[in-house]
Amino acid sequence: MNQPREGFLGQDAALELSVNGGTVRVASPPATRLADVLRDELGLTGTKIGCNAGDCGACTVLLDGRQVCSCLTAVAQAAGRNVTTVEGLAADGRLSDLQASFQKHGAAQCGICTPGMLMAAADLLARTAAPDEAEVKDALGGVLCRCTGYQKIIEAVLDVASGPRPDLPPAAGAAVGARAAKVDGIARVTGEERFGADDIPDDALWLRVIRSPHHHASFRLGDLDAVVKRTPGLERILTAKDVPSNGFGIYPHIKDQPVLADGEARFRGEAVLALVGKREAIETFDEATLPIEYVPLPPVMGLDAAMAPGAPLVLPDRPGNLLQDGGVRKGDAAAAFASCAAVAEGRFETAFVEHAYIEPEAGWARRVGKGRNARLEIHVTTQTPYMDRDEMAVVMKLKPTQVHIVPTACGGGFGGKLDMSVHPLVGLAAWLTGKTVACVYTRPESMASTTKRHPARVHAKFGCDASGRLLACEVDAEFDTGAYASWGPTVATRVPIHATGPYMVPNVRTRGRGFFTHCHPAGAFRGFGVPQGAIAHEAVMDELADKLGIDRLEFRLRNALKAGDATATGQVLEHSAGLGECLERLRPHWQRAQEEIAAFNAGSANLRRGVGIGCMWYGIGNTSLSNPSTMRIGVSKSGVVTLYSGALDIGQGSNTILTQIAADAAGLPMSTIRLVTGDTDLTADAGKTSASRQTFVSGKATELAALDLRKKLFAAANAPEGEYLDYRYKLAIEGNGKAAQIVIRRDGITHRVPLKKDILGEGYFDPPTSPADADGQGVPYASYAFAAQIAEVEVDLELGTTRVLRIVAAHDVGRAINPIQVEGQIQGGTVQGLGLALMEEYLPGRTENLHDYLIPTIGDVPHMECILVEDPEPLGPYGAKGVGEPGLIPTAPAILGAIENATGVRMRQVPVLPHRLRAALGAPA
């Protein structure tokens, strides 16, 4: 029970509370959220703010030992009580068993939810030393995680009772393939990691964005100078006129999105003005007093409106609201359909999907240096520092070298932090005011203003011969790309290539089109449209198999792409096409599931179970474009080994994976390799963290860089040429400071040479691709990932609710450099796929928070079993390819197939909300 303080508090009373065992007095007003006091006044930024509404649990702390949301707790209510934050878990510099277990199990990916998860678990474990899984789920049910799929978190909490010990880092030469703990994991379980909002300088001005409340409106601005004059603490109001080049966008030739709207707002949530000033002044400023005169205009909402003849144009230079029309043509699909023994087709529809990373966009900027030497420095949460640098240079009319991007830790991206958010706003404000300027989005503005997955309408038609061999495929996919292009062209290009599914189809005609509407831009989201396409092709595969009386798994196996086959673009796959093996490894699970389900359904009326299967393929990296990465690894004269990586780890584990690759290629223990990542002044361009490319592309560049370093070290030690390639020669850097030495050992003979200078190895890799011809023929990707997953579901026929009971996921990853991280990607992607299938639907203006927009909680996730198939990719590092996106793609198709198997109803619109399924099931029996 709360021990009340005597008397009552007025506004100036100082409060005293115990935080992590020490008494502190705080000056913040009593109604201040405890989370803000912890972070802003006490500097305990381990406590994260994801929503300020109790929807995500990232801010969970213990209050007298009980978990509470510190964003919903008035600091006055903590007076005289004990507050424990993540910083209070480790004692005497030692991780608690709970933290150690998180680190061991890979329970933290990006790490933004980790403090909340840890505190919720600490509350549980203090009451129940050895909880069961149901108790863990109940206790952690109030904290959302968007990365892990929760399974490793559950395993970590369950394992605490056993006193987990972190595994020793792998020895030299044994790093690749090891279940190594994250090299950057400790800071994520202690709360030390600094995300976008965690390291804002005290003297920063703050920036608040004023956004359009209308989907579409013209607007006029009144006298803003007068507003600045009459508002103490408000320094400046930025408008479109302040932006040197007011357009940005992913493609070099499409800079269509204004930093600040210029007289016309094209989506609800579009930035119109930016207030810059003292934090309290701009936060308390009453937006209604701004002289903005909106004239609402009819919005173009949805594909039908955008495609209607004579539809108003969203962008004046885009006739028909068309962004792009592309496709792939091989053979003669129309003729082939005439000879098919079975044909199936369907039209499928998906919604806007929000990335819902738990870290809202945040960052700060300052102008450094004077005159011609002035540079713009931006600290920001991002997936792509070099693209940010170049985009900022365009917007600010600076040389790229005048922009310096310093990425903070990224609290989840999934494609949503590939586009700029706060960057141009804080950058512009800092450049113009000469002061440090910071901005942290609220959850509603993050959701309203940033990109989403493209809503899609996909019409798919496939035909096969009597033996079940696919002969023809016709797919037409339409995408709603919102008000600006963003990554729309990528989606419209990638989907037609992948629209056949991972199957051998000789006659193909596919088309992908993107259309503009008055919605937030649709951009990159894990899979770039391929998940939407997969829903279509997998449903049609089920139907064709059923028509011919062939088992759904066997039908897919019969058509699975394999080495030697030509894809829709005519690319002959030479290696690493392991879908067949994935399916064969799934077969026993498939058969078991069918038997179990038949037995269950025989004794059940209202609850019906079903099993479904989904397959996917995914081209790694950019489509038909150069996609290089440069990596560097050096040994300083003083003996410190450093990997300089421009590849951002946004939680997926690339820091660890690249270190593992560097270690084995150099022949050094991974524990000796220090990391410098992301900073555009300190690292080379490794390309963006997207398209499942960092392990494959930057991993290969890392391998080459480490080999280059090894070669140079051997040369510095006067070893014979070529000897460096022989790993029987054991390399070490020993001693430090002036005594650092290169040491090479073999057969008991040791050769030592002093390090006389810094030595740097460099590696460059650009996967070989070729541009597409007019029919889309060519080599769009150097390598493809393959996967097959089965889902078992239980449907409540009366309520139309669906519970996913189990997922078995077989993925051909080429080589699992780090199986923990690979499983983490598969599980996390799978649960995002579950959300896509069953609950996620972003409605502009209606679901701008995490209680109306639902993502899966720990209670929604099934048990997930990962089967790692390793059909090596010779181009990749140690045979590896990518796995970032593949887990998501086959999940929704498998769930939809399972629902059909359970109920006989094929759902063609996702998400399958209970009312949609109930309606499809027809009147209750």
């Binding site: 007025g10 506004q11 109790g54 978990q67 949301c69 919903l72 707790t73 919720a120 209970p914």
Partner: protein, 277 residues
């Protein structure tokens, strides 16, 4: 930021409230959630330090749930089976964080159509005790909530307790919530049933449905139909669509109106089945 009062004495709180208006703050789970990105400028009267206000106590003919009692307090209190439905509702409120801070009184004062506590409290025939200096009145919960975000509370009144009458006979209860996910979910619909029984026969039944009308409602016709019937597994079969006439469901982001009606029927049956189990 303006005034923030945190009295420790109940009478003092009422005196202060008379100077108001104040926003009354308890667990803060609705207060802060509705002010995302907005300045915290209202004068606040925080009731969580008031002595005794957090008690859950047994009185001669009723149970008294103090206005500062949290959902966790309820779960940890020793209460008879008539409260089982309310306890099930408590477990469905947000996550454990919300249950640790949020109060039952706050849930009814917030008056959300989807408040998980309201159907369960309606089925318990709960009353709301409202206090102002020198005056106390008790209003049935069904009358206390006037509409979405609207209650009978005057600005100088404090909800001081929720009062739950003891049942005349042995009572069993159940609560069922339907949401599009597990945990942290706003209900599409929910139903709660409290059934008093004697010698295997229903003496009195109270059944309420939430999130299917501006204010959660009791189903009087159904309650009448259940009275005198055998308390067994066939009891839910008595539920018919006409019993749901008081519901006025709407279409929203969570579900369609038509679906809600059908789902409510199912949930009511399951709530009754659960109470009979």
């Amino acid at each position: 930021m303006s005034e923030y009062l945190r009295p420790t004495q109940f009478e003092e709180a009422l005196r202060l409230l008379a100077r108001g208006p104040y926003a009354i703050l308890a667990g803060g789970t609705d207060h802060y959630a509705s002010r995302v990105g907005k300045p915290l400028t209202e004068p606040i009267l925080d009731v969580t330090a008031i002595r005794g206000l957090r008690e859950i106590a047994e009185r001669a003919d009723h149970w008294r749930i103090g206005a500062a009692a949290t959902w966790t307090d309820l779960l940890e209190a020793s209460l008879p089976p008539q409260f089982d439905g309310l306890r099930l509702a408590a477990r469905e409120i947000g996550g454990v964080q919300i249950q640790n801070s949020g109060t039952l009184a706050g849930n009814i004062c917030n008056a959300s159509p989807a408040a998980d506590g309201v159907p369960a409290l309606l089925a318990l025939d709960a009353g709301v005790e409202l206090s102002r200096t020198g005056h106390v009145r008790v209003v049935p919960l069904a009358q206390f909530i006037l509409g979405p975000r609207k209650t009978q509370r005057c600005s100088d009144e404090l909800v001081s307790a929720i009062l739950v009458p003891k049942s005349e006979f042995e009572a069993r209860s159940h609560f069922v919530k339907l949401g599009a996910r597990k945990y942290l979910v706003i209900s599409i619909a929910m139903a709660s049933a409290v059934i008093e029984h004697s010698a295997g026969v229903v003496f009195k039944a109270r059944v309420a449905v939430g999130a299917c009308s501006p204010v959660a409602v009791r189903l009087a016709a159904l309650e009448d139909a259940l009275r005198g019937r055998p308390m067994n597994a066939r009891l839910p079969e008595l539920v018919h669509a006409e019993h749901l006439a008081p519901l006025l469901p709407i279409d929203d982001v969570r579900a369609s109106a038509g679906y809600r009606t059908g789902a409510a029927l199912t949930l009511v049956k399951r709530a009754i089945a659960g109470a009979c189990a």
